[in-house]
Symmetry: C2
Subunit: 154 residues, 2 copies
């Protein structure tokens, strides 16, 4: 799926920015690792395999750009660094994350079951929901078969 590539070029042109090999390479890495939640540093290391001369600052700047263009999505798993995922369906509501407080694993829930909740929020608060981020903390299947410890937090 190279649709993101075309979209990227167009949006760059529209804003008067330029396509460069570095930007291309960074987007490529993200596309190749769809489904993972890569940190900036991890993306940097992956890009360096093909482009050893790339600077970390360029990765930071490009990720900011891609986030701005809504091609990627910033995540926060509270581990001290920014992580990103591909933003496949720009206008869709996001999926939810299941974060295991035992092993630290992250699963994804693809269903979106919050629509009725959002109607209620509009009715009660006059707040128009455009997007949401949901994180559930608990024990994943594997860990819940062992001895659980403590609920996690943000």
């Amino acid at each position: 799926m190279a649709g993101e590539n075309i979209q990227f070029r167009e949006q760059l042109k529209k804003k008067g920015y330029k396509m460069t090999t570095q930007r291309q390479a960074i987007l490529d890495v993200i596309l190749q690792h769809e489904g993972e939640h890569l940190s900036t540093e991890e993306i940097y290391e992956l890009v360096k395999k093909e482009h050893p001369d790339i600077g970390l600052a360029t990765v930071y700047r490009t990720l900011l750009l891609l986030d701005d263009m809504e091609l990627i999505y910033k995540l926060d798993f509270d581990d001290g660094c920014n992580r990103y995922e591909l933003n496949r369906h720009k206008d869709d509501h996001r999926h939810h994350h299941l974060i295991c407080t035992q092993c630290g694993g992250v699963e994804e829930v693809e269903e979106d079951l919050l629509e009725s909740l959002e109607e209620q929020i509009l009715k009660n608060y006059g707040f128009i929901v455009l997007n949401h981020r949901v994180k559930f903390y608990g024990y994943c299947k594997k860990c819940s078969e062992n001895s659980p410890k403590k609920a996690g937090q943000d």
Copy 2:
């Protein structure tokens, strides 16, 4: 409501830690500003009014301690710093936050409407939900009466 104070003293004793004027002062500030989402720096500034000699490191250490004891709760509004709120009902599911992408304001939704969703997650994923964090992004009542711009993230 000074129940938190007593709880704090007891939990400190239980762990062999000590009550100090600084810890007292920090908890006091948090109690006095219930409902706000104070950052570490803001708490520091407020405590300094009464205790000009307090060090920022002490505030960081105490907030870590209070978070550990689950007397406060760390928030993330993606503004580059940690924010905290009083953790009134230790075992309760948290309330949700409505974040306006126009004016940046944060409202709170007190209802918890995610229980059926969590049952479904258990059924489909074998994941036992202990807690959750929900952020809705959109336009608050006031802003939606003006011209909206762009959906928010993370």
